[in-house]
Symmetry: C2
Subunit: 316 residues, 2 copies
C-alpha cells in the first residue's frame, strides 16, 4: 500500500503521522519542538521521529510516497522556514532540504500550516470537487490558503495566502509589527477573546463567564456562552462574524473563488458566529457574486487536520 507521512510543526510540539490514501491517520508520533536549540539538532530529531514511524511498518509491503511538513512561516517555493517567531532557530532554515539529506524518501515538501490545511481539504476534506477556493483557518492566528485552477497559489515570494493580515479596522488593534487593525486580531480565537474583554469594558457585565479566571477564558467559552444567550458573549460573536463576513466578501474579489472553507473551533462550533458570518458575507458580496460563493465548514477532523494537510502535500 502507498502511504505518506505528514508533520505538523508547532511552537510546543512536533507531531508526525502516517496517512493512507483515504486520509486515515494510521500511526502518530510526537516530540517537544523546544527541546532543540539549533536547526541541525531539530532536523536530526525530526528525521529520527519519522524513521521510527516508518520502522513500525517494517515487514508490511509499503511504498512511501514522501514526507510533507506544515510549519509556521513555511515557504513552499523554497522549502524554508523564515523567521518563525515561535521557534528557537531564527533566520532562514532550509528544513525541507535538511530532512531530504537525512531520509531516503522520494519527496520532502514544506509549506505553512494554513496552506497545508488547504491541500488537506482538497485531497481528504470537503473541497474535493472545488478548483477555485480559499481555505481559512481560525486558531491562535488566522491563516489562509488559496486555490486557483486546481492548484495551490504559492505567490512570487512563496508566501501567498496571508489573509489574516488584511486590514479591517483602520487604526484598530496593534498587530505586533507596526501595522494595525488586521483581521486576525479580531477573528482568530485570540481575537475573539480580546473582543470579549472589549465588550465587557463597554457594557460592564455581568457575563456568564464571571466565575472563570481571566487567564483561562478562551474563544470556546465565549462561543458556548453566546449560544445559550449571554448578551456580552452574543455581542462578541456577532461583532466577530460581521467582520469575518465582510472580510471574506472583500477577499473574494481578487480570485472569485467558488467557496471559502472555514476551519477551527469557533466556526466549526456553528451557532451565532457562523450565522452572522454568512449574513454579512452575503450582504457585502458584489451583486455579480451573490448566491454564487459558498461558505463551507471544513470536513477535516480538528485534531488531525494539520497532519493530514502536511501529508497531502506529497500525496497529491
Amino acid at each position: 500500500m502507498k502511504l505518506t507521512i505528514g508533520t505538523d510543526i508547532g511552537g510546543t510540539n512536533t507531531c508526525s503521522g502516517v496517512v493512507d490514501a483515504e486520509g486515515n491517520v494510521l500511526k502518530k508520533a510526537a516530540f517537544k519542538t523546544a527541546d532543540y536549540d539549533t536547526a541541525e539538532a531539530y532536523a536530526d530529531a525530526l528525521a529520527g521521529s519519522v524513521q521510527e514511524l516508518m520502522a513500525s511498518f517494517e515487514g508490511k509491503s509499503v511504498e512511501w510516497a514522501g514526507l510533507g511538513i506544515g510549519a509556521p512561516n513555511g515557504n513552499q517555493r523554497s522549502g524554508t522556514i523564515e523567521h518563525a517567531p515561535n521557534l528557537k532557530f531564527d533566520g532562514i532554515v532550509p528544513l525541507a532540504q535538511m530532512v531530504r539529506d537525512r531520509l531516503d524518501l522520494p519527496k520532502v515538501e514544506l509549506t505553512n500550516d494554513a496552506n497545508a490545511a488547504a491541500v488537506g481539504e482538497k485531497l481528504y476534506g470537503a473541497a474535493k470537487d472545488y478548483d477555485d477556493f480559499i481555505m481559512v483557518t481560525l486558531g491562535t492566528g488566522l491563516g489562509s490558503g488559496v486555490y486557483v485552477n486546481g492548484k495551490l497559489v504559492c505567490g512570487d515570494s512563496g508566501f501567498a495566502g496571508e489573509l489574516g493580515h488584511m486590514s479591517v479596522i483602520p487604526d484598530g488593534r496593534y498587530c505586533g509589527f507596526g501595522r494595525r487593525g488586521s483581521l486576525e486580531n479580531y477573528c482568530s480565537a485570540t481575537g475573539i477573546r480580546r473582543t470579549y474583554f472589549e465588550m465587557l469594558a463597554q457594557r460592564g457585565g455581568p457575563t456568564a463567564l464571571d466565575h472563570l479566571k481571566v487567564g483561562e477564558i478562551n474563544s470556546k467559552h465565549v462561543a458556548d456562552a453566546a449560544n445559550v444567550g449571554d448578551p456580552i458573549c452574543t455581542a462578541t460573536m456577532h461583532f466577530t462574524g460581521r467582520l469575518l463576513g465582510e472580510a471574506l466578501a472583500s477577499a473574494a474579489l481578487l480570485t472569485a473563488p467558488a467557496a471559502f472553507f472555514l476551519f477551527g473551533g469557533p466556526v466549526q462550533a456553528g451557532g451565532i458566529l457562523l450565522d452572522t458570518t454568512h449574513e454579512f458575507f452575503e450582504k457585502h458580496l458584489i451583486p455579480t457574486y451573490r448566491g454564487k460563493i459558498k461558505l463551507i465548514v471544513s470536513a477535516l477532523p480538528p485534531g488531525d487536520a494539520a497532519l493530514l494537510g502536511a501529508a497531502a502535500l506529497v500525496a497529491e
Copy 2:
C-alpha cells in the same frame, strides 16, 4: 504576417484596431455603441466594423489570429457581457459567440477591460517577465486583473479581479448597490474628483481650481494643481495615495504577486500620488513582503491600452 484584432467596447464608442506581433496598432475603426438598441443589431455593427478593417488589408499576405474583445462586465469564462450598467442591451449577452457566428476567425475571446489590460501588459507592456502580478487600472472606475503562475485568473464565476469593490472605509461613500466605502469610490479618477470636493468642504479654499466650472473639474486638474503646490489638491492626492497604497498592501496578501502594474492618467502622471502610494504601500506590507513587491507604472500607451489588451487575448 500574423495580425490580431482588438475591440474595446465603451458606453460611448466601440473602437477596434489591427495589431501586429510587436503590439503596434496598424489601423483603427470606431462607431457609436449607443446607436444600437439590441444585442443583435450591435453584434451586426461590430462584425461589420471588423470586416471593414480586415478588408483594408486585402491583397497583403495576412494570417488573422482572431478577435479579442474587452467589455464592461465581460465574463471571460463564458464570453458573455452580464448586466453592464452603461450599455443599452441588458441581461446576459453571449457576445463572443454572436461574433463567432458572424465572422470567419479562428478565435473570438471576450473579457472585461481591466483583465484585458493585464493581458496587454503581459504581452506588450512592462509585465513581460512577470508570472505573478496584479494590474490596476484607474479610470472612471478602478479595475484589476490578476496573474498567477503566468496565467490570468478567471475565477469560478469568470469575474475575478474586482479589486475596485474592496471596502477601504467602513461606512464610507455610497457605492451604488448598498455597499459602502469601496476603493474605486476613492482612488479612481472619479474618486479623486470627489475627494477634492471633500477637502474643499473641510478646508474652505481658496484653491488653484477656483476659476474652473464645478462640472469641468477632473482628476488631471487636481493632479496638476497638486504637483505645483496647491494645498487642497496636494491633500487630495496624498489622501488618495495613502488609501491606494494601503489597499494594494492588503491586496498583495492573497496571491503574493511580484509586482502591481498601475495604469491610468492619475498614476501615470507620477508626482505626489505615485510617491504617496509607494510610501504607504511599503509601510503597510507585512515584513515578509517588504522590499519584494514592486509598484510599476504601466508601459502601455494610454490611448491604445484597451485595444492592445483586447488584441492580446487572442494573440497569446
